[in-house]
């Protein structure tokens, strides 16, 4: 059945459909609707309005280890607080999903205008080296679909998967028939707590025994984890590519920005990555090969442009749309001025 649905609502519904049974969060605009909708499911799922975002992330880690599919949602300030916990979930290999509905920062910034400034935080926010899976849908239907995919990727990679939204997309309402979108939920691949003598720790460990002074083992472990993430990522190659044979310029954009620039498809080729990290290297290289100029249009000061440049090893131009306001007219002007 077709129904007017908001981005945040689609995330909540997608999580329920994916089999999520544990939710913990702390209120923050523009992510709160996810929490409000799931509060109504208290009883069917475990729902915790936690004391802060640090508690929320650790609550979902505990729940994950105890066997639940778990979700937490937040926005910039809360995402900053969750970072240590995200690193812990990587280290413990605890599958879970973290939604970050981006607003203008740093700090309290411009509550609650939309932004895309937490792209590199999603990749590097916690200390140390790790390679997270990060998805970013660009429509309400996709919010639903990629929430389910995020849960699947979390199970498959045994890691915390980050689902980015922007304040615009989260509050965007579209008429969609979610019942037509089907994603087969993946099952848990390890036993919940209470089934052995395993030791889950944030320390580097092997077989439950800390190996905190073993450089060689760290390198071996790091390779295994990185390979695992890349292998999982290969099963989640999500993007949309609208090729324009007559265009010499490729525009790369995601989330609400990808929606805004869509009318430009008659003049440019458009590439919308949905899996932001690990970067869709092959796909981007193939698309870029056909074009003279590559431009990333984003609501940050070139965060993803730097990533794309690194992968393509050639000049990539940046069109930053800062301060929470976005219009096609401004983007067109900036493209002309390049």
């Amino acid at each position: 059945m077709k129904r007017l649905t908001m981005g945040n609502e689609a995330v909540a519904l997608g999580a329920l459909k994916a089999g999520m049974t544990f939710f913990a969060a702390y209120p923050i605009t523009p992510a709160s609707e996810i929490m409000h909708i799931l509060a109504e499911k208290e009883g069917e799922i475990e729902f915790v309005h936690a004391e802060d975002e640090i508690a929320s992330i650790h609550l979902v880690i505990g729940a994950s280890l105890a066997g639940s599919k778990a979700l937490t949602s937040t926005s910039g300030p809360g995402m900053s607080l969750k970072q240590e916990g995200i690193g812990l979930a990587h280290m413990m290999e605890a599958p879970l999903v973290v939604v970050n509905v981006m607003r203008v920062g740093p700090s309290t910034g411009m509550p609650t205008l939309p932004a895309q400034g937490d792209i590199l935080q999603a990749k590097h926010g916690s200390h140390g080296d790790y390679s997270p899976l990060v998805f970013y849908p660009c429509s309400v239907a996709e919010c639903y679909r990629y929430t389910m995919e995020a849960f699947n990727a979390a199970e498959e990679s045994r890691s915390p998967v980050i689902l980015l939204l922007d304040g615009f997309l989260a509050h965007l309402s579209e008429t969609v028939d979610l019942s037509k979108i089907k994603v087969e939920p993946k099952l848990r691949t390890f036993k919940p707590l209470g089934h052995g003598n395993r030791h889950f720790t944030g320390l580097l460990e092997k077989g439950g025994i800390p190996r905190t002074k073993d450089t060689a083992y760290y390198r071996e472990w790091y390779q295994r984890i990185t390979d695992k993430m890349q292998k999982t990522a290969n099963n989640y190659r999500f993007f949309e590519y609208l090729e324009n044979k007559t265009a010499d310029t490729l525009l790369i954009a995601f989330g609400i920005t990808a929606r805004v620039i869509r009318p430009l498809k008659h003049r440019y080729s458009l590439f919308c990555p949905i899996r932001l990290f690990p970067v869709l290297e092959e796909e981007l290289k193939a698309a870029a090969a056909e074009h003279e100029r590559i431009v990333v249009v984003e609501m940050s000061d070139g965060q993803y442009q730097g990533e794309v440049e690194r992968v393509l090893k050639r000049d990539v131009l940046s069109v930053p749309i800062l301060g929470g306001g976005i219009s096609l007219k401004e983007i067109e002007e900036k493209l002309h001025a390049l």
Binding site: G62, L193, G194, T201, I209
Partner: protein, 249 residues
Amino acid sequence: MRYKNYIKWSRMPTTWCPGCAIGIVFKQLTFTLEDIQMPKSEMSVVSGIGCSGRAAGYFDLDSVHSTHGRALPIAEGIKRANYKLNVIVFSGDGDLVGIGGNHLLHVARRDVNLTVICINNETYGMTGGQMAPTTKKGTKTLTSTHGSAYFPMNIQQIVTSTPKHFYARSSAFRISHLQKCIKEAIAWEGFAFVDVISYCIENFGRRMGFKSPFEMLDKIKQDYRINYKPEGLLGDFELGILKNDDQKS
């Protein structure tokens, strides 16, 4: 099951300094588990970070060693996801009351059915002996070189501030009392906090002039008395159990 079966012998020796109080409390917990015949598959131990926080890894059962201060929310997540598991939190005072203090307020308020064993050694042992929120006024530490200017946190009053509560104070010296407290805490349907007066010789006691762990233990023996029938709150140097299952007010 024998107490020895709760211990992961492949992890021995522990990281704890010779004579450390944590080992005493750890062992009393395993004795209590033997006493109540707790099946290993029906429990989990969660720790934060610190010397005390290493305890989780020494149990021969599924255990979790979290980040500094976050043992309580991790334990709450586990408990809410599986109500059948007995979840025991074993951690330090810096972890539970310092950096994790906000969680203590709220997990107690939500009355999550957990058993918390807090090694209260009045210092941050692992990081070298800094001032903890539990350090007594006037005590010199690495971060209170002229003597702590503050009164210590009153854990008893925090934990008993909710109408329904369980707070026990015991010590590393009174081991049968300690076992009794742990046993009652595990049996308690709700949030149960066992504040264990402990000591740290190497990073704290020596600086204060103690020559051996025995001297510190003896000081605890001299200072603290058990009050079997407390009326109202426990005195500063009293050990005992305060519990109330009033659900109403």
